[in-house]
Each structure stands twice: as structure tokens, then as C-alpha cells.
Amino acid sequence: MNIAVCIKQVPDTPSIRMDRERMTIIRDGVESVINPLDYVALQAALDLRDRKGGEVVVITMGPPQSEEALREAIAAGADRAILVTGAAFSGADTLATSHVLAVAISKLDPFPDLVLCGAHTTDSDTAHVGPQMAEELNLPQICGVNEIHMEEDYLTVKRLSDGFVETLQVSLPALLTVTQELCSVGHLPLGDLQIAFSEREITQWGPEDLGLKEEEVGLRGSATQVWKLSVPPPRREGDLISGSPQTLVDHLIRKLEDLSILDEEDGYKS
């Protein structure tokens, strides 16, 4: 069973700074990690490979430094890694991102039996890229999977969808996106870091290698644009009280009385 895992490098911080001129995230000086759910996908892929054979290919589209994420995946046990990179790819929305990644995946030889993604990323958090690749690659998709069982030549998976626990069967090849619940197994074995950082080659593909034209990738290949960025407005300027604990509690009780959640004076709640 050959598996491709799409991983994205994301900033390891809740507070992200923006380049307001270019409307892009400033990534310099911010530690980066593999998107947590992509790590779960990787772990599931390695587990399936170890039981069924085949290879795990990790693939990312991003700036040159996303190579670190691929190295980390190799250290964890991935067999091959592909870095899709080029200035033309930057500023892509999900339509353009999924296009580039789908073209890269269709170039894989052999074509994977299974493509795994995280259900969503922590930075852009659209949950679009998985299903949009499935569409372009004409694969069946199941999103938000939390259990995978390999049967003869198909998978049985479980997921939670709008309050229903669903059990589904899907033929291969297929694309799945995975959630945190999939991975109660613990941590990844770290593998041979030495190999990861010295010997393994990382394949690099740019627009020409993938036969992509400038107008179909990056900002130009995107259908959406960021119009404006704003800091969420303060909703209202209320009173800010400091003081002794008793003073604070008194203020809160008065508020409850004002809202008639508590009856006034020291009476009883009706």
C-alpha cells in the first residue's frame, strides 16, 4: 500500500504577525512545526505501511525552509519526501494550493493507493485543501476520519459527522482527512535522525517540473483575495475593576442583581 501524506509547516505560536503591505504572514523569527493533524496523518500512514508494506511519501508545498518539516517526517519514518516550492506558488488560496498539490501527486510513480491529509491546519484552518485535491484527482473523499481499518482491497473507516457516528467503506485509491481522535497511539518513534539529516535526498519540484503556468498558481491562480484585515473591534468599553477580592465579588453580585439574575437586597431568588 503506497501512501502520500500532505503536510504543511505552520507557525508554532498562537500570535501571528502580519505584513500589512503584502497581507501575508510574517514567518521570520517564528518557530515552525508540522501541522499537528498532519502529524497524525503521518503516524497513521506509517502504521499502515508497517503492517501492509509499500512506501510513505510526504509532500509539502511551501517556501524552501519547509524542507525542515520534510526532514522531520523522514526522521519519523517516511520513505521519500517532495518539496514543491517556487516564488510563483506564494499567496495561493485553497483553489490554487489544491491545484499544485494535486498535480504533484498525479506525478507520483506509482500513483498512491491512499492520500492522507489533516482535517484542517492551525494557521489557515479552511479544511478545503483535502476535498479540493480529491476533486481534482477524481478520488472518493471522506473527511474527519477517526478510525481506519484496512480490509482486502478497501478501507473501513469511522467518523463523527453532524451528530452521527458513521461507518463507511471506501475503495482505493481514496483521499481521507484525519482528526486528532485517530491517534490515541502515543508518540512517533523518532527514527534515525542521522539518516534524515544527511543521507536522504529530498526531491524538489518547481512550476516547470510540474508543467504549471504562472497564471494557474499562487496569487494569480487564486479566486479569492484578502480585501482587508482588521483586529476584532472592542465590543464595548465596560468598567474594569481592580481591588480586594471582596470588592470584586460585590461588583459581580451587583451586576447579577441589575440583570435580575439575583433578586435585589438580601432577599430570596423567586
Binding site: L95, E135, V165, L229, L256
Partner: protein, 333 residues
């Protein structure tokens, strides 16, 4: 049959699977009404399934001008590919300007695939929608870039302008049994997805917290420091006849169950009073509580962003205040 011109307005995907928990389709019809009035066009709701007449009627009663309905045995269960096979040709034939769906599990897996097939833009999990008065473009506000900022997204050249919308952001209109609308059954060509088979579907067993309906919500964050401290919130909630909610780190630490998560990836609440305790006020959390009529925040850091949206902010240590508060309330009730 109508001319396609009649159908080019603001479309809403009818998602009725989890109807009693999730009224997002009705909320979207109300918002679409508002957008359509600004664009001088119509609201068109879709209803797909094996039997959809009652839903079509419901959508008219809540403000849809036209319902596009499709009935077919293969549409009985929600299936992304099968639904795309019906909806994509409709969009190509009737050319809506705007197309909205609720950010339900299904909406969030169906719309990306559909948008890709139609080669148009899609924004995820919006918390506001407006029409730009100058360009007539749909401004799609989504908490982005880690949530420190809100991003307004536009789809300048591709149509339709598609968005999924967070449940609970908009208010549905009251059911109007006298509302007039048309229900159309255009030709459909259903191509069932045979590669995916639904083997079993069971309603999830949950002790459904009545969080969304509560008049008082006590929301706790990581600042409470431990499970024991967090559990004081249940006492407080009981005294105020409220329900307990939590931020994501609280769920992550296992202090309470996932059903209580508030925010972008959790529930949206609109109580009369929300007391936020030991939460910093990240936008992914505050989108879930913004609709509260009154917000009281307790945090020991006077700079905490939560104070920007609090009607009353108390700067202090939650774990000192809570026992005092609970004691004071016990004396009264």
C-alpha cells in the same frame, strides 16, 4: 419553467440533517434575504433528498422566494459526490451570484469539492457577511491567520461567491405560514458515488448539555489551573441556573468534555449573561460568545483581550474569587 434569470440570486444550501440541533440553514436564509435585498435579487434555497417537500415549505416560511428541490432515492443520505452531481449542473445553468452553506460537518466537506468543480473561490466558517456598497462584492469575514485578526475575503472575478458560515452567527426569521414562494423541481441527473458506501449511521449518544439555550453561561479557561478548580464552575452554574462552557485548552487538558467547547470549533452561545473566567479572549473563543447580551470577565491580567469585550471586567485571581462568590451566593439562595 422559469427563465434562468429568476434563479441567479443568492443561494442557500438546505442542510436539514441535524435540524433540531442546528438551524443554520434558516439563519442563512434570513441573512440571504438581507443580502438579496441589497443586490435587488432573490433568495433561492436548495432542498435535496428522497422526500423534501416539508423542508421546501419550511424554507419558504422562513423567507426563501424560490426553492429548488430534487427528490431521488440516491439523495437520501448526505453524500458529497452524489450531491455535487446534482448541484454543480444547476449552478452552471442558473448562475447564482452568491452561494452559502452552513459550516456543518457536511457543509464543510461538500462546499470545498463543489467550489473546486465550479472553479470558484470559497471562504471558510465566516462570522459576518456584507455587500460592499461600491463594488457589490460579497465581503466574507473569517477569523484568519491564527485568529489574531479578522480577514475580509472577496471573490472578485469568479462566480458564484461561495462561503460556509458558522452556525449561530445570524438570527433566523420567525416562521411565517402565510409566506409565498415557489417550489421548483428542475431536471436532475443523479450520479451516485459508488466508491464510498455508508455501512452504518448511528446518532451519537450524548448527554446533550443545554448550553445553547442557557440564560447564564459560565465559561472557564486555562487560567483556572486545574480540574479541581474548574469543577467549582459547576457549583456556580447550579447556583445561577446556568450551564458551563470551556475554552479549547481546558478540553485538551481533559478538565471537561468536548461538548462544552465554545468558539470557532465549538458552540456559539447567546445567553443573557456570560461570565468568562481565566480565559485570555482569543478570537477563536470570543466568536462563540460575542452574541451574549452581557459579558463579565475575570482575569488576573489587566491587559487580557477579553476585557475589550466585557461589560464588567474584574482584575483578580479566579481561584480566590470563586470560593468567595460561591459562598456569598449560597447565603442568598
Amino acid at each position: 419553467m422559469d427563465t434562468s434569470h429568476d434563479l441567479e440570486g443568492v443561494w442557500v444550501f438546505g442542510d436539514y440533517r441535524n435540524y433540531f440541533q442546528n438551524r443554520v440553514t434558516l439563519q442563512l436564509i434570513a441573512k440571504a434575504r438581507d443580502l438579496a435585498d441589497k443586490l435587488d435579487t432573490r433568495v433561492i434555497a436548495l432542498a435535496l433528498g428522497d422526500k423534501v417537500h416539508q423542508w421546501a415549505m419550511e424554507y419558504v416560511a422562513h423567507g426563501a422566494d424560490i426553492v429548488l428541490a430534487a427528490e431521488h432515492p440516491d439523495l437520501k443520505s448526505y453524500q458529497v459526490e452524489t450531491y455535487c452531481s446534482v448541484v454543480a449542473p444547476w449552478v452552471e445553468a442558473f448562475q447564482p451570484q452568491v452561494f452559502l452553506a452552513g459550516a456543518t460537518s457536511f457543509g464543510r466537506e461538500f462546499f470545498p469539492r463543489l467550489a473546486k468543480r465550479l472553479h470558484t473561490g470559497l471562504s471558510a466558517d465566516c462570522v459576518a457577511l456584507e455587500i460592499d456598497p461600491e463594488t457589490g462584492l460579497l465581503l466574507q469575514t473569517t477569523p484568519g491567520f491564527g485568529g489574531e485578526l479578522l480577514a475580509e475575503i472577496v471573490t472578485p472575478d469568479h462566480r458564484p461567491q461561495m462561503a460556509t458560515v458558522h452556525p449561530g452567527v445570524f438570527q433566523e426569521r420567525p416562521h411565517d405560514p402565510g409566506a409565498v414562494g415557489r417550489i421548483l423541481y428542475p431536471d436532475v441527473d443523479v450520479v451516485p458515488e459508488t466508491r464510498v458506501k455508508l455501512i452504518r449511521s448511528k446518532r451519537q449518544q450524548t448527554r446533550q448539555a443545554k448550553l445553547e439555550e442557557a440564560q447564564v453561561v459560565i465559561a472557564g479557561g486555562r487560567g483556572l489551573g486545574s480540574k479541581e478548580n474548574f469543577e467549582r464552575l459547576y457549583e456556580l452554574a447550579e447556583l445561577l441556573e446556568g450551564e458551563v462552557g470551556a475554552t479549547r485548552p481546558v478540553i485538551g487538558s481533559g478538565w471537561t468534555d468536548k461538548e462544552r467547547l465554545l468558539g470557532q470549533t465549538g458552540k456559539t452561545v447567546k445567553p443573557r449573561l456570560l461570565i468568562s473566567i481565566g480565559a485570555s479572549g482569543a478570537v477563536q473563543y470570543t466568536t462563540g460568545i460575542l452574541g451574549s447580551e452581557n459579558i463579565v470577565a475575570i482575569n488576573r491580567d489587566p491587559q487580557a483581550p477579553i476585557f475589550n469585550m466585557a461589560d464588567l471586567g474584574l482584575v483578580g485571581d479566579a481561584n480566590t474569587l470563586l470560593p468567595l462568590l460561591i459562598e456569598a451566593l449560597r447565603k442568598r439562595v
